[in-house]
Symmetry: C2
């Protein structure tokens, strides 16, 4: 598929994340505008609140954009999702008859602050990257027991904490927690020393369900995708996670990129899950390509220094698609709601430079990573800035996610005196 040209000239660059083919959904504010829904186009944001007020967007009887989140649009269902995308494409395409109406409603992205694009209903994180699970399992249980017996049959997941999901740019405070050093008999309450990132994609559920749904129904229910960094305190996790899984280790924060890239924008980039050793049970079987070919990278910049790319991989490395994860999530009858966020699990490729966490990159802290600046890292240090980027490559354009970044703040001196 070629670039769709826009009269917004910056949208026609091969370097922009936001050509007319993308049209991702975010929430922004400026010095003069309260937080509101907007659509990225090149280096501009199209103000949805104003567009609806002025009747330029007029899809439903009740307003969709009188609130600073995209859940109301999602609630309308796929027919309205398509109608909005078609309308936006018409308005912003080269030669649009409505250019004069729309132009005053474009806000330079450089002047905007970006906010959470949705109200997250509930957050679930999966563990569905085979290379990641193999790496972590090898470190903890040895290569012969790396994957648990269930792993090749079921997308392993656990419930996370929606209240801890924040938008890119939010600083991340190093947490305190209960942890036990291998050389101590008793645990202590200390700041985490092994604070880490996890490179993931997040799928956003756009249609509710109230019973088991098929993989095809699940794919249809997904509204879009974001980049996701599930910040993880490995030392807290190691002490707490048996027998009921990660809890406070994952509750400090999870960052997401500010633009929801719609499933529609990603259609040209569908790709299949990898070959399987065990056939999946019928209700989880692939029914078509449900992963996406999205290049992903992670950079780390120590305070005041240049960033080094520490990992590069691709979303197609996942063993399970988000549609399979959502289908599995519904098997028990668990009600799924609009705004539910599903983390893919850490995405790592087969080679060392493709590992999506410092736990893997430094092999449990034993092999420090050397940055371009000459600094080394086993886990994150205070004031480090982490940035995830992702984009699917089209013919002369790319569909990008913007950035998902966060800077590590030092732990509080005394967490009970703040």
């Amino acid at each position: 598929m070629p670039l769709n040209s826009s009269w917004v000239s910056s949208a026609n660059s091969a370097e922009t994340d936001f050509p007319l083919n993308n049209l991702p959904y975010g929430v922004f504010s400026t010095d003069t505008l309260d937080a509101r829904c907007g659509v990225a186009i090149g280096d501009m944001i199209f103000d949805m609140y104003a567009a609806e007020e002025q009747g330029i967007i007029d899809l439903t009887d009740e307003p969709l954009f009188d609130v600073p989140f995209w859940n109301e649009l999602m609630e309308q269902g796929p027919a309205v999702w398509t109608a909005l995308r078609n309308r936006l494409t018409d308005l912003l395409a080269e030669g649009s008859k409505d250019q004069a109406l729309v132009e005053p409603l474009l806000v330079p992205m450089a002047n905007a602050t970006l906010h959470m694009p949705l109200v997250v209903s509930e957050f679930t994180d999966f563990y569905a990257g085979r290379h990641h699970a193999t790496n972590v399992g090898t470190m903890f249980r040895g290569p012969e027991n790396a994957l648990p017996p269930n792993w090749l049959h079921i997308p392993i997941g656990y419930n996370g904490r929606a209240s801890s999901v924040v938008v890119s740019g939010t600083d991340i405070r190093r947490p305190w927690g209960q942890l036990k050093s291998p050389d101590h008999d008793l645990p202590a309450f200390l700041p985490s020393r092994r604070f880490d990132l996890e490179l993931e994609m997040g799928a956003i559920v756009g249609m509710a369900s109230d019973g088991p749904i098929t993989v095809d129904e699940a794919d249809a229910a997904i509204f879009g995708y974001v980049l996701l960094n599930d910040w993880s305190a490995r030392d807290i996790q190691a002490w707490e996670y048996q027998p009921l899984g990660p809890f406070q280790a994952k509750a400090t924060a999870t960052s997401i990129s500010p633009w929801i890239v719609t499933k529609a924008a990603l259609e040209p980039f569908r790709t299949s899950t990898p070959d399987r050793e065990f056939e999946l049970l019928d209700h989880l079987k692939d029914t078509g390509p449900m992963l996406y070919d999205i290049d992903l990278s992670v950079t780390l910049a120590p305070e005041g220094k240049t960033a080094t790319t520490i990992a590069q991989t691709n979303y197609r490395e996942m063993y399970y698609s988000s549609a399979q994860q959502l289908a599995h999530h519904s098997t028990s009858g668990c009600p799924m709601n609009v705004g539910d966020l599903l983390g893919s699990g850490t995405i790592s490729g087969p080679t060392k430079s493709e590992r999506g966490s410092l736990l893997e990159l430094s092999w449990g802290g034993k092999e420090p990573v050397t940055l371009d600046t000459g600094d080394t890292r086993t886990f994150l240090e205070d004031d480090d800035r982490l940035t995830l980027t992702g984009h699917a490559k089209g013919d002369g354009y790319r569909v990008g996610f913007g950035t998902c970044s966060g800077t590590i703040l030092a732990a509080l001196d005394d967490p009970y005196k703040c």
Copy 2:
């Protein structure tokens, strides 16, 4: 503390769950009244929507009871919680000058349908009963490894699924799930055969926090308590829970009792946690009695037959209080919100008749429980009705929780054709 007499005569019975000392908060509807907040008093419900409309309750500038849930009252904080309780006590006490005003706003409980009393923000379930953890650990890992190394130092918990919390009386559909029999090499997708109850208390967070809070602050932040049954598919859990904890096994439903018993009503019944082998770290230490002396029981009634009490225990058997659990939950900086629900973990006492799950009562299915009807049970069968009750005993009165019940419906023949 003696009974506080009310002009509602049924509230003065030693047998009612709802004397003037209690005043629990629920949501009800009738054939003629839409769902609204109400307060239980004897066998009546005091209509809060009508009372506020008529100016009998007038605590805040903005209305509190124009919505069918108690979150708005909780948002006001403890001063308003106390003001409401004082006002209700004045209005309903023997000799109240306002009896004539209030009397027309009482609705017979027998005519009412009860609904969820709150919007659950997020749901966390703990594993903080020592007898339960020891029983389960002994079955799975042997008596010498029954408690994991962290158990005596930290209240182990995991995030549950808020969307699956339902009010007492909601039927519970036996789930399908992926499970593996010990005598098969590969898993299968089948209806759960080991579907179970978990007798728990639920604590409701009434004040938000955005960083670590102390045990005292956590105790102050708790608004009230409910009975809670965390329905659990043991066979799904056994296959899925390593390494990241229970997921679909716990996502079918969690039932809560319809009346929030306030912390204020439970004050006379505070009791301490048990003696500890290991001193807790400072941030989790007991600072006073934060458990409650609440008798709990579970009955099971096969379809069309009388109910048998299968377990009797007491909330004071917990090793960690809800305040300690909430304090731990906040250590990572995890934002806690009004309406968060914390399950205590299964409550079992030291003897066999005090075990709060069929997993323990039937010792993993090996020792069937015989009911008064002559039927036997290892796990729940279709059409079984489970009922939890709980009450704290005062001098001539009791503070009760009403009932938390659910009936098991047969699994769907084909979960993808409904």
